[in-house]
């Protein structure tokens, strides 16, 4: 890893020399700095956040554990599986519409692994229709692993995880059909979704399934919240996945992002206090002070 970075640096310097300085002539007289000083604050934040995030990722990779709060939706998973077993009905898992290059799909695979482990112990059937062939192979591998680690490799059915169609509405119509025919006791929609979210959630609702959803696509969240029993909102999807898988990359970045949020909250509070003081007193000194204090967010 370090060798690759080093090699890249060398190549980068090489490229630097390769491309002639096209702007050198025009700007020679104008004594402008080569660094855009207006963006200094952004630069400082890039450095700080990069440091923090990479540090957390490295720490997580070297085995350090971090606290992550309980994610409320996760506790209902076991209940949903239990209910399905009791009723003798299957469980449906939809891993979203995007391919494996979407972080949401990767998070979804982690959650599927966790779910499969519970299902293996309960002996209920799991259906996973997918829209991309790559996702199918990833899902099969994940579920197989879970059944193995639960000590139930015999219960694993490869055919229940299958590719449907790349076309959005053809895929949706097919999943709709599965819900109507098989009447699953629980439906999980976790991953990246588009306009089909409400069609799936409505159909699941009409067969009385318990529904748990989660996506980081904000426009689809309202439909899931309104029609599902539980919804993981935005980043909760990643947090849930990191929480269960203890995957250092996800865990580390999650921690780094938390630091960023804390910085935002603190600065908003300070900024509002200073602005309020400024409005109430009209004092020049306050506004001059706040200019310095809030330089990072100018």
């Amino acid at each position: 890893m370090n060798r690759i970075c080093l090699l890249s640096m060398v190549l980068l310097v090489g490229l630097w020399g390769l491309f002639p300085d096209a702007t050198a002539g025009q700007n020679a007289t104008a004594a402008t700095s080569w660094f855009d000083t207006n963006r200094l604050n952004t630069f400082v934040l890039v450095i700080v956040l990069t440091g923090v995030i990479l540090w957390f990722v490295a720490a997580a990779s070297s085995g350090k554990t971090f606290f992550i709060r309980k994610i409320a939706g996760l506790e209902t998973v076991e209940e949903a599986v239990g209910r399905a077993t009791e009723m003798g009905k299957p469980i449906l898992y939809v891993p979203g519409l995007n391919d494996m290059d979407d972080v949401q799909t990767i998070a979804s695979m982690n959650l599927l692994g966790h779910l499969a482990k519970i299902i293996a112990n309960y002996e209920s059937t799991l259906y996973v229709p997918v829209r991309r062939s790559l996702v199918m192979s990833a899902a099969r591998e994940t579920v197989h692993q879970s059944y193995l680690s639960a000590g139930r490799p015999d219960a694993y059915q490869e055919d229940s995880i299958y590719y449907v169609s790349d076309e959005q509405f053809a895929y949706t119509a097919s999943v709709d059909g599965i819900i109507l025919r098989e009447k699953p006791a629980a439906c999980f929609y976790l991953g990246s979704f588009y306009a089909e979210s409400l069609i799936l959630a409505e159909t699941g609702n009409s067969v009385g399934a318990m529904q748990i959803a989660g996506t980081a696509k904000p426009p689809q969240l309202p439909f899931f919240v309104a029609a599902c029993d539980y919804t993981l909102l935005g980043e909760e999807l990643f947090a849930a996945s990191a929480y269960l898988s203890k995957e250092p990359r996800m865990l580390g970045s999650l921690k780094g992002q938390d630091v960023g949020k804390a910085v935002a909250i603190v600065f908003i509070l300070i900024g509002c206090a200073l602005k309020t003081l400024e409005a109430a007193t009209g004092n020049e000194a306050v506004s001059r002070f706040s200019e310095y204090a809030l330089w990072l967010f100018k």
């Binding site: 963006r39 426009p219 938390d258 509002c272 200073l274 967010f297």
Partner: protein
């Protein structure tokens, strides 16, 4: 003549897709598959003629292309455009299983490029400026110095909403005690936001249906109905 023809094809295809509302059927499947084929080819053609020809081929082979892109006329070839040409062609190796691994090079350029573009811009526009726009006075006065209650309240809702929302998405602290209460408030603000998004999305879908109905209406009135 061609306008009338368009009107009729338009109406036929619209009705074919709408027939899905009754149930999935052969007409719908026909229209859907036609759409997939036509749109993919359309994007390819437009991308080729509007971008590749003037921005790549015209710069690599100016004399050859001067018939189709007048811009290229009399220009010298810019050989450094071989770099994107090679990366672009490598992307197409994905179509041949044996050579597919080579497409990773171009994929690496696209993914690395998006990451490089996005990092400073999201930080600037969606983080720094957003935090800065939220730093507002919680007490708003008019020019005469009187407190404006409504405006102050609105500012309070904004600031509290952003902070509570951020606390809800904060994963390093357990949501109990004061954090729990704040994040609870955060979730209520998010629900209002989702409600607004919900209302807007409904509005959008209805508008699209109106547009379709309108063009069906044009077809009907063209028949004198």
């Amino acid at each position: 003549m061609s306008d009338t023809l368009i009107l009729w094809i338009d109406a036929a295809l619209t009705l074919m897709i709408l027939s899905f509302l009754y149930r999935d059927n052969a007409f719908y499947k026909f229209a859907e598959h036609l759409f997939v084929g036509v749109s993919a080819a359309y994007w390819m053609v437009v991308g080729f003629w509007d971008h590749l020809v003037p921005n790549l081929l015209g710069k690599l082979f100016p004399s050859l292309m001067s018939g189709v892109v007048p811009v290229a006329n009399g220009q010298a070839a810019e050989w450094h455009y071989l770099i994107p040409a090679v990366f672009g062609l490598l992307l197409l190796t994905r179509l041949v299983d044996r050579w597919a691994w080579l497409s990773r090079w171009s994929l690496a350029f696209i993914v690395g490029g998006s990451a490089g573009f996005n990092l400073p811009r999201f930080l600037d526009s969606d983080f720094i400026t957003q935090v800065q726009s939220t730093m507002v006075p919680l007490l708003v006065f008019d020019t005469g110095g009187a407190l404006l209650v409504g405006a102050s309240l609105s500012h309070l809702v904004l600031v509290a909403g952003v902070i509570c929302g951020l606390v809800y998405f904060f994963f390093s602290l357990e949501h109990d005690g004061i954090t729990g209460k704040v994040s609870r408030l955060g979730i209520y603000v998010l629900m209002v936001t989702f409600g607004a998004a919900f209302g807007y999305t409904v509005m959008a879908r209805i508008s699209l249906l109106i547009g379709r109905m309108d063009s069906l209406g044009n077809w009907l009135s063209s028949m004198g109905l």
